[in-house]
Amino acid sequence: MVTTTQLDHARAIAGAVADPEVPVLTIADLGVLRDVGIEPETGTVTVTITPTYSGCPAMETIRDDLHLALEAAGFTDVVIDLTLTPAWTTDWMSDEGKQKLTAYGIAPPTGRSAVRGPIPLTLAVKCPRCSSLRTKELARFGSTSCKSLWQCEDCLEPFDHFKNH
């Protein structure tokens, strides 16, 4: 017999799995975790996740980590589903997640592009170390699909920026 407590437990375990590329964030902070359910008859746990970017190679690690974490917590029958709808955007990231990112030295997403079109404008990105808005983009593509590389013109520190998406 599945109880609400077990479902909450499974949710807590799944939500605590860390993103392999930004380990300071959990998949719940990131908005990658969409749903956790338990089949009442069989006790099968179904976890639904969504990719940040289509080619994100972290999805396979996240899937394996979910299996390991849930099985260690006693859920022996675990199914991981992937959904593409609704598509992930940076709006799915929690405010707590954005604060954790800043503390980790990664500038969080600033919101949607100010002007959309073939030659877009974007809002200033705040330096996660000294909070200066005098920053510049060094490279539009960074160490992972979801980040770009920036530099602060006041403290001169280079930093990652989690792109608006």
């Binding site: 289509s54 080619g55 593409l84 709808t85 877009p120 160490s143």
Partner: protein, 289 residues
């Protein structure tokens, strides 16, 4: 499906004389679950159209990944690698959906189809050439893909709509990257401008195929599943014109195209691209590491 791809057969015994070790295929089923919505089954007609998109993305990803460690600066190694990774993600979701019509996996379709079975346009088969050549090819393909996925995000086929809604945000970024570089190369040195101009002249004969209507997809257009290729042309040309005009370059005259990529008649380069892409999977079917 052959026994080599059904997820159970061990293909090479563990023995010390085999330099490649034991190669097994037990991962294939696991990997497939992460390539897109699991349960949707495409009709054969939809699957054929989905291969147009899948193969454009797959071949362009394969081409772009050759720039890694060869780009003019390290940031471009990363940028082109990231763009290739996004495109590979689109290709995986699309191939998985296309394969659902015939019980084939994304790997079956990527690695075990021969040249005439591919449905990619001739544009993605053009050589990387110099950096300007790759950037102009990106300008064309990212602009085309953005227009196409914007429309397909409203497709009446829910799986195709979901993949397109995801992909459109990524190709918008690719288009932005190509626009920025086109402006810098065209407005840079005499040499970079000459090469940009040459790339436009070399690549423009292959633009027409992207916007050419094809009777084979008319039933899908009528049902709101597919987008009519010619209906994307005006919006794409407006962008080409706006970007090139920033640096006083003209869009070359459109040329009639006899390219037959959508029916499996390909440019001579595709065979070489496939040979490189498929050799490992064919020599060691199901290899994992």
């Amino acid at each position: 499906m052959t026994s080599a791809q059904n997820g159970t057969t061990e293909l090479a015994p563990e023995d010390s004389e085999n330099p490649h070790g034991a190669v097994t295929v037990d991962q294939l089923d696991l990997e497939a679950e992460l390539a897109g919505d699991a349960d949707a089954i495409a009709t054969p007609e939809t699957a054929e159209y989905v291969l147009w998109l899948a193969d454009d993305a797959l071949i362009l990803a394969q081409q772009l990944s050759r720039w890694i460690a060869h780009a003019p600066e390290i940031e471009e190694d990363v940028a082109l690698g990231n763009i290739a990774l996004d495109l590979l993600g689109h290709a995986r979701s699309l191939l998985r959906y296309a394969g659902s019509a015939s019980g084939r996996t994304e790997d079956d379709l990527a690695y075990f189809r021969n040249e005439p079975e591919f449905r990619c346009s001739w544009m993605v088969q053009q050589d990387n050439g110099d950096f300007a050549h790759t950037i102009i090819r990106q300008l064309v393909m990212a602009t085309y893909m953005f227009a196409l996925y914007t429309r397909l995000a409203d497709s009446t086929d829910p799986t195709l709509a979901a993949i397109a809604a995801k992909a459109v945000k990524e190709v918008e970024y690719h288009r932005d990257h190509a626009v920025q570089w086109t402006l810098r190369l065209a407005g840079g040195t005499d040499e970079s401008r000459t090469r940009t101009q040459r790339a436009l002249e070399n690549l423009w004969p292959f633009v027409g195929e992207l916007f050419r209507d094809d009777t084979s997809i008319e039933p899908l257009i009528a049902r709101g599943i597919a987008a009519r290729p010619s209906s994307l042309q005006e919006e794409c040309e407006a962008i080409f014109t706006a970007v090139l005009a920033e640096e006083d370059l003209e869009v070359p005259q459109p040329q009639p195209s006899s390219a037959g990529g959508r029916h499996g008649s390909h440019f001579s380069a595709l065979g070489f691209i496939l040979a490189e892409m498929q050799v490992l999977a064919r020599q060691h079917p199901g290899a994992t590491w």
